[in-house]
Symmetry: C2
Subunit: 110 residues, 2 copies
């Protein structure tokens, strides 16, 4: 099971899309969830994830709620209305990219 490349710029889309679907999530949970959904193929590193969450919060696309579970702090992130709109844009960009890539790398479709 080899580790796969995360193309730069795609992490925000992954995070926002997950939060839009699954409601509240905390950082560590996102790393586990991505790994689970992709059968261990894609790993979101914490060094990339936490700065991304902070950036999305600073942009007003996510909001935070602190929780204490088992004496451990958890920061639950929620998507905002502004975040939902931006998610739709990012998903469209991602889908366009994918369809463009598919015609570019598949000579039969070109």
């Amino acid at each position: 099971m080899q580790k796969n490349k995360l193309y730069k710029g795609s992490l925000s889309t992954i995070v926002l899309s997950l939060l839009k679907e699954q409601g509240k999530m905390y950082g560590y949970q996102i790393t586990r969830e991505v790994e689970k959904i992709t059968n261990g193929q894609l790993k979101v590193t914490e060094g990339a994830l936490y700065p991304t969450l902070h950036k999305l919060e600073a942009k007003g696309l996510l909001s935070v709620e602190m929780a204490k579970v088992n004496n451990r702090v958890r920061k639950y992130y929620f998507i905002t209305e502004k975040g939902k709109k931006e998610t739709a844009n990012l998903l469209n960009e991602m889908k366009s990219f994918i369809s463009n890539m598919e015609v570019l790398i598949n000579p039969k479709l070109a």
Copy 2:
């Protein structure tokens, strides 16, 4: 017709894949061809392309042949054997990324 995002890391894959399929191409031609194939949705900027071509040549994945057409210099790039192998790897990575993204952004597939 909006311009689409080029996720960082994907340009080498696009260039190598095109050259593998279409034989020799020169830089300016690649920018036109990508735009044409994607119906104007994806634009490869020259500021990204030329350094990428030079890098791929330095790695031995491409080779170059100069030509003079209409008193203008053209640098035709060809894919090497080493380049073909690397292209196969990059295409696999891209396909894995796409299938991972699709399950991540499409809740019905998860």
